[in-house]
Structure formats: C-alpha cells, structure tokens
Symmetry: C3
Subunit: 239 residues, 3 copies
C-alpha cells in the first residue's frame, strides 16, 4: 500500500485464464446451481451484499482485478484507474472485479469506463462499491454488480493499490483468472483450479433440479419428486 | 423448537380461511388504504423491511405459514421444507408466509418451489429472508416479497420448526388463515376475525380518497377537497 | 419547532428562483457531470441514501421545501401537510423537497399528492423518508427520490414545522429556490447563487468526457484520450 505521496501500485499484466469452453458452459448455469456445486467442493464463493444493477443479464468470465485504496493526506491525487490498463491487459469476455473496500460515498466506475469496456468486449463489472452514469449504463445494458449508485467522483479520493492482485469483494477472495458468474440472483467466484470439478457438479445439480420440475409437471408431488432425485443431498460433498 | 438432532416439527394441516368474497374484495384495494383501515381498527399490520421483488403484481390470500430455524451442531441436515407439505395443505389462492428470522446469508425459496406453487395456484410468497433463482421467478412474474436474493442454499442450514403455526415476519405476527395483502408499496396482514370490519373501512377510505382526487380534478384546491372529505381523519378509529 | 399541542409552523410563500434558462440547461446534464462541477466550486451537493424510485426519469427545478417533525404526546394530530400549500406556493417545474428526518416507518407522500403535483406541473419530489401508492406513482411515471415505500400513513404521526425553510435531506442543506437535479444515479442540490458558475463548469466537464469517448471511438487508448483531455483534473477547482 502506498503512503505519503508514494504512488507505486503493483501492476500484473499476465493473467492465467481457464479454458474458454469451461467458461462458456458456466454461462448456461445459474448462480444457485453453481453455488450448490461450490458447496459440494467445500469452496465458499458467494459474493455478499452486491446487487445485480441491470436486470436480465448474465455473465461468466475470468476476473481482471483491481484494488483501490483511499488517498491519504499528503498524497497527490488520482493519477490513473483501471481504465488506463484495460487496453493492455483485458481480453474479450473478461470480467472487471473492483475492490473499493465497500465504500458507498464515492464511485469507481462510470460511463467512459463502460463505453471502453464494451468496445473491448469485456463481459461486465463487479464492484465492492458504487458507480455512476447509471442511466447510460442501463441503456447499454452493461452488466454491473455493485452496492449502488451515487454521483460523486472517486477522482482525488482513491488510487490504485494493485491491478491483477488478489482482491476481496463481498467477503470473498478473488484472484485474477478466477471465474466470475453473475445473474439476477447474485455473484459467485469459482476458483480456476477447481473449475472443471465444479462445472461437472453444477451440471448434475441442474439436471436433478430439471428432473424434479419435470416430475411435478407429470403429476408427482414435490415430496415424491425430491425423494426420487435426492434433492436434499444435491449440495453435499461427494468427494 | 427442536434441539440436538431431534427433528420434530409441528405440522398443522387444517387452516380456517376467511370467506373468498372478502378476500376478493381486498384484492381490489391498495395496501395504503387498507393500512389506514387497520389503524381505524387499532390493529398493527404493516410488515416492515420486506421489498416487493416483482414489480406490478398484487396479491390477497389466506396465509399458509412456515417457521424455519437454523440447524444446530449435532443436527443431521435439512430433511424437508415447506414444499413437501404444499400438496397436502395449500389451496388455490393461498399465500405462503415464511419466517426465516430475517436471515440474509442463505435462501429458503427458489424456482422449484415457485414452479410448484404456480402449479397449485398459490398466489404468492412472503419471506422474512432471502430467495434465489430470481431470473426464472421474474419470468414467471410470481409475486415475492422478501429481503433480497442470494445464491446460497438453505439446505443443511435450516429446518422446519412449524407449519401453520403463528409466525413473525417483518415485526408482525401472522397466523395461518390471516389475510395477506401485497402490492408495489409493501405487505400487510389482516387478522381474519376483523377482516369484514377492516374491509368496510378500507372501502370508505378508498371512496373518500377518490372523491378528493375527483374534486381536485374539478377545480378545488387540495386543501378544500381534503376538508370536504375529512382527509386527516380517515385513519382514525370510529369504533 | 412546535411543542405540546402548539401547531405554529413557519410558512414562507415567496421563493426566489434561478432563471429558467439556467435550470433548463441543467436538465440536459447528468448528476455525475454536475457533481464534478460542484467540486470545482468547492460545494458539497450530493444527496446521500436516497434512491431514484422511478427509472429513466430526469428532473431539474427549484426547490419548494417542507420540514416535518413528529407529533409529541399531547399534540392534537396532523392538520395539514405540504399538499395544503401547493396551490399557493408551487409553480410549474418546481421540485418538492421533503425533510422527514429519514423516517422509514411511515410515509409522507402518496398518490393524492402526486395527482395534485402532476396537475400543477410540478417536476418531482425528493423525500428524506418514505412514500406510498407506489403502483399508481409508477403508472404516472412521476419522479420520486426517497428511502423506499411502506403502506403506513404519516397522518397523526407528523406535522409541518416549516414550509420553504432551509431543510436537510440526505446530509445536504437545501434552501427554497436551490436547484435540485435528479437522474438514475442520484440527486444533487445546486446553490442558487452559484448556479451559473456550476453550469459553465459542468458543460466543460461534459464536453471533455464526450471528447474522451470520441477519441476512444477513433482508436486512442483510454489512457491516451484521458491525458489529452486532462480527465483526472476535471473535478479540480480552477477558481
């Protein structure tokens, strides 16, 4: 962390991403089904306290991370933000994950960043904090998960502590390249090393849940359908 | 309340419901007008801290209740939830009312329960807690009033303490068969014994408010229109 | 403030409003751009903790203010509210600003007031508190910024302490005639004496931000475009 006028952020440009086909399969799964699969694998991945701010969108992609910290007295002012690095480090389909420490009094994202992200094919942004220019972002239907909106700028209030370092958002550790999954229910982080196992389990959960709904459609009671497909065991560790 | 591995919930299957014609008349009234009528009858019925999660829907129906409590160490895991009882106890037009103690870290409702509820003709669900599968529930336009959404399951975190017992949601006692009214403004509970009186008063409030709006349309000032229809007395007890 | 049955509110009917052409120009600007201009002028104007309750609307207009205070034991009940004064004091395009002390347990605005406000051509309402009749207000697409909705009336709970006095909403002082700007991101107050300076600066901010987006469209990186238009200095005082 920089102190007293030093601005010396850690910038990591190389990110190891999971295979694209795994990410694409996650995109067809809901956060609840994948959350159950995370539990099967004894991984905590539910990001808390962030809301889906654009209804009806769904994202899955590798995390590009940034950690912001406040300026201290004596520091010189904001010189750059994640936008200055996007052209170098972000690829199509990435998800920007911003740790602004849950600050709700000023923003760290707006429409210039959104316009740039859309141009680069970035999938969406997850912010432990606030953003602005909500009207324009709603028009673009750009996926954002955040604490809320406020007009006040983060300029001269925040500075970059690190890009593509491990960050914490909504109580969850996110490392660059971890898969971020978001939908109307919320946001998950899937550790990249376990992505294949979690995908397999999530597909089993989804399949079982679909069978339960089909069974109720066909005339079983919900109790019968659940027993048939072991509903209350779906989230339990099998490994 | 069950302790240390005992799972012995209180299940009541028989619910005394108010007459259907009374419920149907409530469905045409707004929660604000009925809230004023509750005050006239010195009844507190405003459920606090729950949000209407599907915009533009309105529900009125008798409550089917469930109280969940957390699992304790030594307990064996969730064996059933309200869904297992729906086929036995719920009738078309009922409202499911769930007391999950205001828990925001895991859910107690999702799309399988919603699909089942829709199949059974259930009117909606009121949850002092969270739910998941919001995207699917929005598509079904199934009315839910809750604290919010999160992907994490309640399975192996909660258990039934009672079905069709008295519960507390948003600071209000709800007994099975009490009428639940919900719209974009919020949720009310109307005690079944007083439903007829409250309905009568609510219709008077609605009529007076309509006359005030008509009078302003016709050229009176709001001050004049309110004095004519005793606006500031509408919520006062007359019995 | 009135005590023990005294009801003696301060009512000011004459409000000095900024020129209409200045207000109309603000209506084309976003709260983020104007927020940056407020900072340039060393003015704090960001109203916190109120949410835009009707999506996709934008307001700019001079404030007509009301301060409510709770009834105390011994007081006689609500005799009037802001609606009783609207016909005398509000003009087309005004914004009603209500300081209800952030109370979330009862309302101070509803559909009769909204209907009357629409009839009078009032632009919108900002409430540090709650409102009701959200369904009807959504249908009218009347702009409201507030803490949320609840059915419970404020009648016999609140009384007027002052109309067109200085009030506090969301941590910001608002005086009658100050310009209120609201959009999907939030609400600002622009002090009337500084409106012309702030407007000029906000247009510069908007112009610079548009140039940055155009430059990224034309192939510059965001870093290059920002340096060209001095992005990180836009909010800094120049006077």
């Amino acid at each position: 962390m920089s102190v007293c006028g030093d601005y010396n952020p850690t910038i990591v440009t190389k990110v190891e991403r999971p295979p694209r086909n795994i990410i694409d399969e996650f995109k067809n799964l809901s956060t609840p089904n994948v959350s159950d699969a995370l539990e099967r694998n004894r991984v905590n991945g539910v990001v808390e306290n962030l809301r889906p701010m654009v209804s009806g969108v769904r994202i899955a992609g590798p995390a590009i991370t940034v950690r912001y910290v406040p300026l201290s007295p004596g520091e010189e002012g904001t010189k750059e933000d994640i936008g200055d690095y996007l052209f170098e480090i972000a690829q199509q389909g990435d998800v920007i994950v911003i740790d602004n420490g849950g600050v709700t009094t000023y923003t760290c994202w707006g429409d210039i960043l959104t316009f740039t992200a859309v141009k680069l094919g970035i999938a969406g942004t997850v912010i432990d904090g606030m953003f602005r220019d909500y009207d324009n972002i709603l028009k673009m239907r750009y996926p954002i998960f955040a604490r809320g909106t406020i007009p006040r700028t983060g300029k001269d209030r925040l500075q970059i502590d690190g890009v593509n370092v491990a960050v914490e958002v909504g109580g969850i550790l996110v490392r660059p390249g971890d898969i971020i999954l978001g939908d109307d229910t919320g946001v998950l982080r899937i550790p990249k090393e376990k992505a294949a196992d979690i995908l397999k389990d999530a597909k089993q959960v989804e399949e079982a849940e679909r069978m339960i709904i089909d069974s109720v459609s066909s005339g079983l009671t919900l109790r019968e359908a659940r027993q048939k497909y072991r509903y209350f065991q779906l989230q339990r560790a099998t490994r």
